[in-house]
Symmetry: C3
Subunit: 452 residues, 3 copies
């Protein structure tokens, strides 16, 4: 058998993409977990030094272009807000004991709290305190980005132990003109068309919701450089909502290059997987994710687009309508740890991260390799036997599946059905169909149809 | 917040239509019931004075144009039949006792019976007697419009009590050249396009099948005058089949104005609701009814068109193919009381009538208010918070639903999706979506797309 | 009532096709069974005298054009192989007893075995022996067409009774230049457009898989001559795969005439029925078979096309993409007797054959009679009563069904819906809808829409 045929001299062929090789990287789950461990302590928000610290760590591994957009800049209907930074915060009781202490968890302060230093009675303080009566051991995560105020989050047990006394409230924060920080990384492929991968970087010490996505994006950015890929990859690390709005507002001229995209979030826990389709609903990314997930995970949940969620809300706004979906394990808002201190390093596992990585790589592999072929022998079946295509792949069951796969590819390769179409029609995995197509192409029985 | 935006200076806006106000009319159910009580005794048929008496009562409330079409007039493939009137009928036993007496129920005479006055043995009489062995207390309802004959309907108990004796049979009817009577009422709206509402007026003392539809049409005709509506409403009160055929034959030039329509029947009982779609199957009226019914009544039955039923058969004949469906509670032929004396005033209730009215008003409201909007801020979400659109509507759950509703409207308002499309996509009630659209339009975030 | 209207002076009308009459041929099942009995003993293969003997028997009943294509002829990607013939074969033990004897079943020799005459030990012989451990009483059916070798098939009991001794192996076959034989029969109809019916003729003594199809084709060829039919029928009797490839290669200029087609196989057992759709999936033949089968057999299995199976693989290759499906009772490969000596004359029954014939005739009848009509009275319903169309067909339930059928035909005959469309919409049997259309056409209410 001759060497695998390259697509237009590409490193990607029907039988092979570099992304598949990455699926077997040893220790990937541990590596992802370590990235998350390192990023966990930073107090991120939609602006400020927590984001900068995070991007600095990511930047050690991949070439990032870091953008600083000044407070007051108009981005579509929005305006870049003041920059928020915090150094310390506490509620002290009369004995000076830090009853609530920012140093033990940055979730204790309502994100974007204005500075405060005041003695208050419990009655005065109570409206500023947030807890979860149903989950008395967890600290909730709260923000107040666009409404200047302050507050503390604490466990319900902490709240119940506070007496009706006087407390000294202290938030050493600043909310001042500054900048919003985001970063992007473009990994050029063989073509200018892009796959967008996006993660939000605005959540403080939460592991699954935020850091899992950041870690996966970082890992992919680092390894994709080393393997061949047809598409260019654009990785975006930006604060939720305002960050993706800012990127879109500054890149309207580039948006047409984005052909496929995924928002990555909540990919470290053991639930799901869950996929929310793009607004288009039948984009290639939607079909590729559905195919990969339903073949591998009987419990996978594929959902229609809805306009509530992460940054796919912006990418899928009607003026852009980009084919960008949201890939998660447990869906946001549907696991009890969501937006609480329960979403910590013990909630995620290296194995789940590694499996999520494998999902993403399999999905990207489908997108990279999907294409239409034309059967060069369209009238009746070609004689596979005389070409040795009857026992080319070992294993008896495999054998029958590969015969059937080749028949499917030959029968449907009329120039109008792509490999993913054929995988769907035959209910066979894309990889098997693509391998069959590669073999047939290598034997001169199929020709790639140039994409228009 | 500014005043609700009017649609083209209309009294109908996304946030409001007069029809919705009508839903809360106090005492509507009782009023409908009283109309039915008053109409119940008349002996209606496809022609004759029973129809005239009925239309006279309706005409006390709404401006009716009453049409008299002479016997012998050709209407498409049909001919207006002779006019039938009846004054009295009985079967007397040898003692002169009225065993069967028209004065106690006009169902006792087969509708359109020719006059007869004869002494007969039971053997001779029996072929002319109709009863329901399975429902021995009910009188069946029978007609013989196009085949001159005569007969009596009676309870099976009555039949069984009749001895093998001689009887005097007496039907004081006339079947002579005259006219077919129907009525229509046009309530002009802001546009010439029409909504057709049609009820049949040919059934004698039957409450649900016939009178419930007449009463609803009358009530609507009376109240619609008082509230704003975009569409013109055409109400038709006509005998079944031959009546709607006559109307269509005489109004071929007006038919193109009918954009939506409903035949109303069997709306006073407590079953259903049931909707039979128009022949088109996906007309706006079909979608509006499905939406309203399935949101409010889990037991609602939405059925495909079939060419058997009431006057939708004629409106949906292939040469017209009007978007006219049939709205009922219990479906004709599927409740035991159907076409028997069991369908009397005790079979219907003011509450059921009132609920049916609410259904109709909600359906008409969807048709009135459905339209496409264009998001004026299509690139990324607009910032709702700075416009105070985050707590504009009270109630915490409501609040979240309204946020979500606004996001749906913004995301889908690309000019191609109407409010009903968005309600269907989001699985949210039309009214909520329409309210959200109204709010967004009031804040300059949406513009109405003129209908083409 | 006037005589049934002919279609374009055809013998086929909406109310009648000659094919329906054939359904009630007495003794058809026995006749089919007798054809199979006579053909059963021949040792068929993809070439050789077994095929010629078979076609000679068929040719006694229908006019066959028999083709002999020389070894070495190129047919698309394939080459006509050497011709195989066999006279005798056996495995003798040391006492000269024929332990395995071709004369008792031609399945005992691997089809296309090269000649052999050799003394061998059991150890040397064993790789050439094939049995079914799970079905110890059945001889498997094996072939080796494109790979020169030899072998014996035997029951597992036979295999187990063979001792570790020396055997004399003898296959008196020839594999030499010759020809591939196939036959076709064209029955001209009123139009040149063709219905293709195809059966494979390459299996030796197997009753259901092979002979049932041949017998049905023969019976149809004999009787279709005698009755009117619109389409021309092309019957093909050819060895599997290489035979249909050969026919297609030699008839590329005729293929465009084939408008509908069925491969017939496995139609004598009592399972199924099973239909595999053509590659198009929604061809008229696919819809006709689905309609007939699902109305008559609740257990019928309608399956999507797949590129594995019988000769539909070739007819449905992408360069031809003919509307040809596969009709079976039990599906190939899914009954235990498949490709074993269990598929003998006791596995099939005259009743099952007769029922299969009825299916095929009903399907062909739908294809023959399906057409669009136009309601000549499209505005409102015509008055059926005045034409005596209210009690034209006896039986009270039938009566109501016929009324409803007429209403469906009138309502949907807008020129765009064919009778099969209407049958599907109304969930009524095609025959009933066609009968209604015929009655309406006879009364001048419908006109046939010429096919384009």
């Amino acid at each position: 058998m001759s060497a695998p045929s390259k697509v237009d001299g590409s490193t990607v062929s029907a039988t092979h993409s570099g992304l598949l090789d990455l699926r077997s990287c040893p220790g990937a789950g541990d590596e992802l977990y370590e990235i998350i461990e390192r990023l966990f302590p930073f107090c991120r928000s939609i602006t400020g030094n927590g984001v900068r610290q995070t991007l600095a760590v990511v930047g050690e591994r991949i070439p990032l272009q870091i953008r600083e957009i000044p407070t007051g800049t108009a981005v579509f209907d929005w305006t870049i807000p003041k920059e928020w930074n915090i150094r310390d915060a506490s509620i002290k009781d009369e004995s000076g004991h830090r009853v609530v202490d920012f140093r033990s968890s940055n979730l204790h302060v309502v994100n974007y709290s204005v500075p405060v230093r005041r003695r208050m009675t419990m009655d005065q303080l109570r409206p500023h305190l947030h807890s979860l009566p149903d989950r008395p051991d967890w600290i909730p995560y709260r923000t107040s980005y666009y409404n200047e105020s302050w507050g503390f989050c604490l466990t319900h047990k902490q709240l119940e132990s506070m007496r009706d006394a006087e407390y000294e409230v202290y938030i050493d924060s600043t909310l001042e003109p500054g900048a919003l920080t985001y970063a992007e990384c473009l990994l050029p492929g063989e073509i200018d068309e892009e796959i967008l991968l996006s993660a939000h970087v605005c959540h403080p010490s939460l592991a699954n919701d935020n850091l899992s996505g950041i870690a996966l994006l970082t890992w992919l950015g680092e390894r994709l450089k080393a393997v061949g890929h047809r598409y260019s990859y654009r990785l975006i690390f930006a604060p939720g909502t305002i960050g993706s709005i800012t990127w879109l507002a500054r890149n309207e001229d580039k948006v047409h290059r984005i052909r496929h995209g995924l928002v990555l979030a909540c990919l470290g826990d053991q639930g799901g997987p869950t996929y929310k389709c793009s607004r288009r609903g039948d984009a290639l990314v939607d079909r590729a994710v559905s195919h990969v997930l339903t073949h591998r995970f009987p419990q996978a949940s594929i959902r229609r687009f809805s306009p509530y969620g992460y940054d796919e809300r912006q990418y899928c706004s009607p003026g852009f309508n980009l084919p960008v979906g949201l890939l998660e394990r447990s869906a946001y808002g549907e696991f009890p740890e969501y937006h609480t201190s329960g979403d910590d390093l013990s909630f995620i596992t290296p194995d789940a991260l590694s499996e999520s990585l494998e999902m993403v790589l399999s999905i990207l592999d489908v997108i990279e390799r999907d294409q239409c072929y034309r059967n060069l022998n369209p009238r009746c079946e070609p004689q596979l036997g005389k070409r040795g295509l009857y026992d080319v792949i070992g294993g008896e069951n495999n054998q029958a599946n590969f015969q059937l796969g080749m028949l499917w590819v030959l029968n449907q390769s009329d120039g109008a059905h792509s490999l993913l179409d054929i995988a769907e029609l035959s209910s066979m995995p894309f990889e098997q169909i693509a391998t069959c197509a590669g073999l047939l192409a290598d034997h001169g029985l199929l020709a790639r149809v140039p994409s228009q």
